[in-house]
Symmetry: C2
């Protein structure tokens, strides 16, 4: 059983927004054994929508369309579905009730005529209720292909997908089991990883697929397989993954989904009842943001400071001014002092500190843009490392953030 | 002249990564008058790639393919291009030299055989040099359609696009001028905005297109037009945008691209030689991260603190313990005290403070998940507001961040 996702919206094709819905839908479909064959993004244009629906029908069993269902004039998906299915729009009592409920409960105003028009659906469509918004999802069929239309607003789409679409897919289609497992590695290039695991890769069973996903400072290695027998499948992939993990012992930091590096740090600190603080200069809050994005951060994160101005490293964080004068603010001794001071200020076992030049301008120091010192304070002392992360501000911050988590995890595991 | 972007990679279709390359390419193409007709994401599968290339040829003049060019076995784009163009791979001296240079300069090791294989390109291809990586881009033609293949690694792709692809497109194709202008509004729903501007929208010239882009707490309104005469086009769109801006005077905060709300705050503070600090509890660094992501932040941002543990709001930030006891930590008085204390600790004119319950658990307070107090301290005093942002942690943090910038800008404009 194959799916195509069609996302409708000029904003995607002019690059004004990044289409994140497709990745979400694909990932969730995989969990219930449904494979996405293609993702197609098209314009808010009647003929283009009609062509895309017809092309997709030739390729797949189920077509999931998002976008173009808003109350304004630029949204034409519903009307175009009507044309494709040779149907007419009729008012749905259940959708109308939902719209009135949303307005009385949340918006506390009378719905506008444009809002009430959202209750119109193609007469042959099955309604997929959207309690989070006024645009309903719809389910229609043509020549044995199912067509689903959902709003593009992510949290509305997600609810309809889980609550309305999935139960219907599970009932209607016979699906295999799809299993992915991804190993996260830090600090070695893609080709070097490939060379090290070459023998193992050559002996991999043909029904297990290996993929390399390199990104800044890390390579993710994904094993995928599908089949009828869930347990046999999992066992086969897990056993290969165990071999791979052993081969990459020194650079592997865990499995994706199961645990990100942030979650791994979190669970170790929570388990050991230890605490963390941060003093971020050049990363400017990027590290603490990753930490607080994960529920439960308050169990181990005591606090964080961004002493952005040099003088604040002295007055708020308590670094000695003489140290900065002697070594400059972008230096190993200052990074280490920042980490130590953070453990004192926030009374924590561990601290992460960064100081560097994110760019684009060099500042007044001697170092190049991209120079970053990262220090980790632990109960055993303070360590630091110097990096050159290139001259792109965004990439410097991302690389420094990734590297900081890698160093922190290493120190925690040593203790 | 129309373009299709094809992104290749199973990781996209299983939802492991979000395809951000397409949005980047689309936006940049628009700047040089090139319109993207469709974006297609497909699997690392020979037949699927061949089908997608052939289908795209029927739709557009130029096909831009990214991904599948790595040195490992799962990457098959180059071989499949060879098959599609009935060509063979030959070693390119210039690519080989680039690979050797990258290894001697940055990696400081000898290239592996897998790296050297990257120097093979189809014999009919024009090489698009990639100084940031070992996989070259290629440019090929068939039946008047141009096919470009580039690596999927974003910063490699971006360099090739700007330095190699664009000069060739500009030379080869006659292009119209495309102009978009987007107004950012905060605090009013899509339908209410549509109702207010209905008369204006109905009288909009047919060659200017209006789009509504709603997201958490904001609606973006985009006007688009294309044509031969750049100045006439800009003038027509700008004059409509001026009318729209006047109609939405109370909710408009500026134009996208030109200035984000963060950049607007930054430029006002820099211009007025005023300074900013933050005390973020429930937003956990998300606000300061947005601020420091923009170059020049050090001109006005003195520092920021995340006093995550309640006790640290007392010991580090200097809030009175009695205040927290009386009102609880998630309260207007505590938010206001946090903002005031931040201005003192970091010696700034303005401060932003947040305290709330991001969830998923309620904590020990009386308030529901999603309750957030945001306070802004300015030279004129402190203001605060209470919000209910729902029960999804990620959305609570994003909404609070957006709202904080909106409130901060409003206070700055009052002063």
């Amino acid at each position: 059983m194959l799916v195509e996702i069609i996302t409708i919206g000029d904003e995607i094709l002019i690059g004004q927004i990044v289409d994140t819905n497709s990745a979400y839908i694909s990932k969730e479909l995989n969990r219930i054994g449904v494979e996405v064959y293609q993702i197609t993004s098209i314009q808010d244009d009647r003929q283009h929508i009609l062509n895309a629906l017809e092309d997709a029908k030739k390729r797949v069993d189920l077509v999931i369309v998002t976008g173009g269902l808003g109350p304004t004039k630029d949204d034409i998906t519903k009307e175009t579905f009507c044309e494709y299915f040779d149907d007419t729009l009729v008012e749905s009592a259940e959708v109308l009730q939902n719209i009135n409920e949303i307005f009385s409960k949340y918006i506390k105003k009378e719905p506008l005529p444009a809002n009430l028009k959202q209750a119109l659906v193609p007469s042959k469509a099955e309604v997929l209720q959207n309690p989070n918004g006024t645009a309903p999802g719809i389910w229609m069929e043509k020549d044995n292909t199912v067509f689903i239309s959902m709003p593009g607003v992510p949290y509305e789409m997600k609810h309809i997908l889980t609550e309305e679409v999935f139960p219907r897919i599970i009932k209607k289609y016979n699906r295999p089991y799809i299993y992915h497992k991804t190993l996260l590695t830090y600090g070695m290039g893609e080709s070097a990883v490939a060379e090290r695991i070459e023998d193992w890769e050559n002996n991999l069973p043909t029904d297990i697929k290996l993929a390399y996903l390199p990104s800044l400072g890390r390579v993710r290695l994904r094993l995928s397989s599908k089949g009828k027998n869930k347990q046999a499948l999992q066992k086969a992939v897990d056993s290969q993954m165990e071999k791979l993990n052993t081969l990459l012992d020194d650079i592997a930091v865990g499995f994706e989904d199961e645990t990100s590096i942030v979650e791994r740090v979190a669970s170790l600190l929570i388990q050991r009842k230890q605490s963390l603080s941060l003093a971020e200069s050049c990363t400017g809050g990027a590290i603490v943001k990753e930490i607080t994005a994960v529920p439960g951060a308050s169990s181990y994160l005591k606090g964080s400071i961004v002493p952005y101005e040099t003088q604040k490293k002295v007055s708020v964080l308590g670094i000695e001014e003489a140290l900065i004068k002697e070594y400059t603010v972008v230096s190993a001794p200052v990074a280490e002092a920042m980490a130590s001071s953070a453990t004192k200020l926030f009374e924590t076992d561990y601290a992460v500190a960064t100081t560097g030049i994110a760019g684009p301008t060099k500042g007044d120091g001697k170092d190049d843009v991209g120079t970053v010192f990262i220090a980790i304070a632990s109960p055993k002392g303070v360590v630091s490392q110097k990096f050159s992360f290139g001259n792109n501000r965004e990439r410097v911050i991302i690389k420094a953030t990734n590297k900081a988590f890698e160093m922190l995890l290493k120190e925690i595991l040593k203790n």
